[in-house]
């Protein structure tokens, strides 16, 4: 009779094979254990004090694990961390939900963590993903919750209004097969990359930049200023450095445009990394156009003449920030909010530091800008997490209640304190922005009228603007103030947004609308290689290790190595929508 002991007679190798297979089955089965049907809001009601309410707390404490996007300089008070700060405590107090961080990372490290989480199948309960591509992959693999009904039930009217202000673009972008699979960040329709120049240095050297005062300067003016800064070393470090740039382009995301070549590109009418409509109606990749070649030509000349950093290509983002902080360089390309998180460290080191903001105009005096891609950031909830509605409730709390409560100082004193002292918004549980499409200029108008006293503080729409008014008033009353927050708010709002407001009213912007944003099927395999090819070729041209005409070789390589196919796929996708 054969019993299970008869296995003994089999050769050892066979037994080992069976053993290892069964061990594998156990792991495989364990991995499947996570999947379950999502609870409806009614079911969730079992746990909640007032079921279905946008701000309802849980009866028993629940926990939620998160993947968090951090920043270099969040200004957190001593003792507070990303995991335990006024904002996470606010979530605990409001909802009885305890946040723990499964991982915290920044920039590329963050995307790596997300990749690893997806690969290992151990997603945090909630996290931010930074591309539609990742969102799609999570949906295809059935790893995240469908938030459609939860959003309808839980989002406050204000939040719904904010998302609707994008004419559906924001939610559409997070919708796959008719289901809302993530809560999108909103990407304000932006503005040009600016050039921030050390005003105190200009004064010191007696340079008058932008004599007509229209806020737009030419490349030649930037070039001359950079040369003067190099020659006369106003920072007195003995080691001045030209304009530093990062080695990535990242131009399709306005917020990530800091330290990139985008500003130089705009003067040539170039839009690298955007998908554009060509003259013949075909799709064109912005990095392969004649205009982009011209931009590279300018950059190569600058490199040769030392106007840009001789270590171009090898510097990291932090290296570059350090050059400004050390006083080695005084010209920075970046968005309007760069004083709040980047240039603020310059003020911390040098109390005399002041920056003026300019945009770059082309030969005809126009400022070329591309419309930003619709949001590329999404908050997703792990499939099987018991309280998916908490994600919507957190959005309600931070982007509606905290933003609009007129009386934050008494209702949420700790969070109010954070806002006053300018603690970076990245310390909120979700490092995203959810603002209405017009909020940038609306807020600016509030701030300006508030400073002038035309409207009272209670008429100002957001708490943030209220705080900004206070900070800016502080700065205006004492421009040498040690209050770095006052300094940064004045610079970002008055100098930065002020310039955007002015140029918008003067109709100086020439907008380009991208033809496509997103990914196609063959990009999954070829895009990493194509991006590498682009980055490498551009750096070689700028640093002079290849002549400018190498650009044509790059274009033909790019097409051959998969670019043509991607263009074909995009054209098909656009055709199928019409």
């Amino acid at each position: 009779m054969r019993t299970k002991w008869s296995m003994k007679s089999k050769p050892l190798t066979k037994r080992l094979a069976v053993l290892s297979m069964s061990a594998l089955m156990v792991t495989a089965l364990a991995a499947c254990g996570g999947a379950s049907t999502p609870p409806t809001a009614e079911e969730a009601g079992k746990y909640e004090v007032t079921p279905g309410d946008p701000f309802s707390a849980y009866k028993d404490e629940i926990t939620v694990t998160m993947g968090r996007v951090t920043t270099a300089n969040p200004k957190l008070p001593a003792g507070d961390t990303y995991e335990n700060n006024a904002y996470t405590r606010l979530v605990k107090d409001t909802f009885n939900a305890q946040i723990t961080d499964q991982f915290e990372a920044n920039g590329e490290d963050y995307s790596r963590q997300v990749s690893l989480a997806i690969a290992s199948g151990e997603l945090p309960d909630m996290m931010r993903v930074d591309s539609k591509d990742e969102l799609k992959e999570l949906v295809d693999n059935d790893l995240i919750e469908d938030l459609t009904t939860i959003y309808d039930q839980y989002a406050t009217d204000n939040i719904k209004q904010i998302y609707d202000s994008y004419d559906g673009r924001a939610l559409d972008n997070a919708t796959i097969d008719g289901r809302l699979m993530g809560l999108p960040a909103t990407s304000l329709d932006s503005a040009p990359t600016m050039v921030w120049v050390r005003q105190d240095w200009l004064d010191l050297l007696g340079i008058q930049l932008d004599p007509d005062g229209d806020g737009a300067i030419s490349l030649e003016e930037v070039e001359k200023t950079a040369q003067e800064f190099l020659k006369r070393d106003p920072g007195q470090t003995g080691n001045p450095v030209g304009i530093p740039f990062v080695n990535t382009l990242n131009t399709t995301d306005y917020n990530a445009s800091a330290y990139t070549m985008l500003g130089v590109a705009s003067t040539q009418g170039a839009f690298p990394q955007y998908w554009m409509n060509g003259e013949d109606g075909k799709i064109v990749y912005g990095s392969t156009t004649e205009e982009t070649k011209q931009m590279l030509g300018i950059m190569a000349d600058w490199f040769k003449n030392g106007i840009i950093d001789p270590q171009f290509g090898t510097r990291t983002f932090d290296d570059i920030t350090a050059l400004y902080t050390n006083g080695q360089s005084g010209i920075a390309f970046g968005p309007w909010h760069i004083p709040d998180w980047g240039l603020i460290s310059v003020k911390q080191m040098d109390k005399n530091a002041k920056f003026s903001a300019y945009t770059l105009e082309d030969a005809d005096g126009n400022v070329n800008v591309a419309h930003a891609n619709p949001s590329n950031q999404f908050i997703v909830v792990r499939k099987g997490y018991e309280h998916p509605e908490l994600a919507v409730k957190i959005v309600n709390l931070f982007y509606d209640k905290l933003a609009n409560d007129k009386d934050v100082a008494t209702t949420m004193p700790e969070a109010a304190k954070y806002q006053e002292t300018g603690v970076d918004g990245s310390t909120r549980p979700f490092n995203i922005e959810v603002n209405s499409a017009t909020s940038l200029l609306d807020d600016y108008s509030d701030v300006v009228r508030g400073i002038k006293g035309e409207i009272g503080l209670d008429e100002v729409r957001t708490t943030e603007s209220k705080n900004n008014i206070g900070s800016i008033k502080t700065y205006l009353s004492d421009m040498d103030t040690d209050d770095v927050t006052a300094w940064s708010k004045y610079h970002s709002r008055i100098n930065g947004v002020g310039l955007i407001d002015k140029l918008t009213q003067e109709n100086k912007f020439v907008w380009m609308t991208p033809a496509f944003s997103g990914t196609t099927s063959s990009m999954k395999q070829t895009w990493a290689n194509l991006t590498k090819l682009e980055q490498e070729s551009f750096i070689k041209i700028v640093t002079g290790s290849e002549p400018l005409d190498y650009f044509d070789t790059f274009v033909s390589n790019w097409k051959k190595q998969g670019g043509d196919q991607v263009i074909q796929e995009i054209e098909d996708e656009i055709a199928s929508k019409q």
């Binding site: 290892s20 495989a28 290992s120 693999n141 290509g313 090898t314 990493a528 590498k532 980055q535 750096i539």
Partner: protein, 304 residues
């Protein structure tokens, strides 16, 4: 009869004891080395984490073919080979020279402290050492300041395709030669001192002694280490290069591991990454076996 049985059980008992002692090692190998090997099947699939190893679709050699179609692959493999071979050769040479010289130092505490100082960098990770290297070799770092002092031009070591490979090889040799000299020192100690005395009597110079006694005495170990290091010929040091390179020097600095990391993991092409890993292992094992055969043929010594 009874006694014989006892005896047999006793023999079995001691044997079983020894075999029991092997058990943790076998289990360890099984769990951490052999079971994960099943994962190589993902190299032949379009692996999707949610579907798992058994649910993903089989695609045959697609990922291997893609690897050899990648435009940069020849460049990347040649970088890997150049960097790895140079590291092995120079590293071994430095370690041999160093151990021979160190052996001549008679003052014990000098010997010990020199040894400790050269071991030290081995214990620091590249994450730490990379920032040291970057600081030293950047345009305004100490190396360039010295070049300027001697009236030479600045060199952008970290951003120059001419200098990046020598920098990688040089810093790796610097980091590791002290540690790898340990085995060579041990080999020297095991050489019979009588041989040196005899050679001394015959009037051999120091150099002659090194050439005819020390080096031949070390040869088996040198061969062993050489054969062993061949398995790593396609691993030119991910940690080091990842922490030091940048897009400017992808051309000469990209090795298989860093390339696959960027194209594969960051682009979430797991199967592709596995395929390259498998390819590396196969080359490694082929090299190991052939080097072992060659060693047997020409020196009559081999590892297994």
């Amino acid at each position: 009869m009874k006694q014989g049985k006892l005896k047999a059980r006793g023999r079995l008992g001691t044997g079983a004891m020894y075999h029991m002692m092997m058990l943790p090692g076998i289990l360890f190998l099984l769990v951490f080395s052999y079971i994960p090997m099943v994962g190589v099947i993902t190299a032949f699939q379009d692996y999707v984490p949610a579907k798992g190893m058994f649910g993903s679709e089989f695609v045959g050699l697609k990922h291997f073919i893609y690897m050899f179609k990648l435009p940069d692959i020849a460049q990347v493999i040649s970088n890997t080979l150049v960097i790895a071979i140079a590291k092995i050769l120079l590293g071994t040479l430095m370690a041999i020279i160093f151990s021979v010289l160190l052996n001549e130092i008679r003052v014990k505490y000098v010997k010990k402290s020199v040894q400790t100082i050269v071991y030290l960098p081995h214990f620091l990770s590249w994450v730490v050492l990379a920032s040291v290297v970057v600081n030293m070799f950047s345009l305004d770092g100490i190396v360039n300041q010295m070049l300027a002092f001697f009236g030479l031009d600045h060199i952008n070591f970290l951003g120059s395709n001419t200098w990046f490979q020598p920098l990688i090889i040089g810093t790796d040799v610097w980091k590791e030669f002290g540690y790898s000299s340990i085995v060579y020192l041990a080999a020297i100690t095991s050489i019979d001192p009588g041989l040196y005395e005899a050679a001394g009597m015959d009037g051999a110079s120091w150099w002659r002694k090194v050439w005819h006694i020390t080096l031949p005495g070390m040869l088996p170990i040198i061969l062993l280490m050489g054969v062993m290091s061949l398995t790593n010929i396609l691993s030119a040091g991910f940690d080091q290069i990842y922490n030091l390179y940048n897009p400017v020097v992808y051309e000469t600095g990209d090795i298989l591991d860093t390339y696959v990391y960027r194209i594969g993991l960051v682009g979430r092409q797991y199967s592709f990454g596995t395929a390259v890993g498998l390819f590396k292992s196969v080359i490694g094992i082929v090299l190991l076996l052939s080097a072992n055969q060659l060693a047997k043929k020409y020196t009559d010594r081999k590892i297994f």
